[in-house]
Symmetry: C2
Subunit: 244 residues, 2 copies
DNA sequence: CGAATCGTTGATTCAACTCAACGCGAGTGG
DNA sequence: CCACTCGCGTTGAGTTGAATCAACGATTCG
């Protein structure tokens, strides 16, 4: 069981999406909440599994991916602290993709069945979670456009911009500096490129003085420049100051 | 106002996603419903618009797309009869993409605000629509993988398989023959390829006796063969016989 | 009949992939 | 404490799948 601080954190995270009514808050508090931890590269869920729980990412990074027939892998989402990892499975009984930890990770789990029941019974909760799943779909659309229609340089820059802004919006840190705990192989799998080409692309962004790198963290040295080569606008993230 | 037959159709479509309770059904019937038609290439909604209505596709084809900075376009979804075109905007005030008619199209419109209110008040309705938005997100994930990790041949075949199965699942027709009312330019924009390359790829699929084409319709002459080169499995469509 | 749109085809170019080697730092075990 | 390994990043050389450029048919429509 998770303690009161975790509960409070969860409540804040959900309320960040849409305000919770009193009874929604109460119902949420009545749900049992379990903390779970995962090692890097450990699976939270596999394609074909029928998840019993939904998880909120308390700390660390996780990613979701699909394997295609020729052995390739496509990463379809990257989650950071505060993300609801499992929205996409909440009403679909069988998972269509894998969820894996990128770093040491802590998640808060709620029974899927209970969460569905409580959400459907409490409109403010349903609104928050439903909205979250729509937001994720919006991000996915942008990824399709990114992978389908931007070249490697722009595409890579775009992902960096997105992660920077999402981190900022989640209150984890400023857009100018963030951890990116992924190998270049994984970055390639997220962007539909090869590790070798990711390497060249990152070096080119660095050479253009747009970013600096050290180990697995990135500093944005020229935000506007990066945004420009990325063709990035944050509309699709539906941030609260713009859209509510 | 739409007539009783349209209402009944709509009810069937929603119930196809998840069973509707009696009071959900009643509440749905109380909503005012408007029929609207669109010409080919007419916009249903533009990026940046704040939609007032949600639309269900009564007949015809529509597609949704994003424009990227270099002038490129990426089609992120294709909808056929029975699809809920606007789920993705139901809880996000500003649209992050364009929705456009592919053919002559008829849609049934419901006030967005009303639909949200009624859904949140009636769990069975919320479940059906929420599930639909998750299903769309699942399709989007597969598109990311398709565009990111499959070559032109496999990628194109995959989209054909998807459309065939979706048409079959929607009860519009068999998987072996379907309309594909898109130019090769549009197909390219959906698959992250150029029109010229789409042309060559389609001809190659035809030369391999997997499909036959005439005008804007496709016949699948070798379903298993097509499915094999497409690396297609229908799991991500979460069809009712497999997953409910 | 002319104009426009879309499909088809060939020739050429290029962005990203493949293959291969090497460097480097973090463990690990003798 | 050093030698060894292993995973990851880096770099170069050569290849290729898809893009680009350009022209020409076919079909539709006013």
């Amino acid at each position: 069981m998770a303690d009161a601080a975790e509960r409070e954190w969860l409540e804040r995270q959900i309320a960040r999406r849409a305000p919770l009514s009193n009874d929604g808050q109460m119902a949420l508090r009545a749900l049992s909440l379990v903390t779970r931890t995962y090692e890097p590269s450990q699976y939270l869920l596999r394609e074909g599994d029928r998840p019993k729980h939904c998880s909120f990412l308390r700390s660390g990074f996780v990613y979701r991916h699909k394997i295609v027939g020729n052995g390739g892998r496509q990463i379809v989402a990257i989650h950071l602290e505060g993300d609801f990892v499992d929205v996409q499975n909440i009403l679909l009984t069988e998972s269509d993709h894998n969820i894996q930890a990128l770093t040491m990770t802590k998640v808060l789990c709620i029974s899927r069945e209970d969460l569905v029941a409580v959400s459907l019974a409490h409109p403010s909760l349903a609104r928050a979670l439903w909205r979250e799943s729509l937001l994720e779909a919006s991000i996915m659309r942008e990824w399709v456009a990114n992978v389908g229609r931007r070249d490697a340089r722009s595409r890579t820059a775009h992902m960096l911009c997105e992660l920077a802004i999402r981190q900022e919006a989640a209150g984890i840190g400023p857009r100018e500096a963030f951890d990116l705990p992924m190998t270049q192989e994984q970055l390639g799998d997220a962007l539909g490129l090869t590790a070798v080409h990711i390497n060249r692309t990152l070096k080119s962004l660095e050479a253009a003085a747009l970013i600096a790198r050290s180990k697995r963290s990135v500093t944005v040295t020229d935000w506007h420049g990066l945004q420009r080569v990325a063709d990035f606008t944050s509309g699709y993230l539906h941030l609260p100051d713009v859209d509510h």
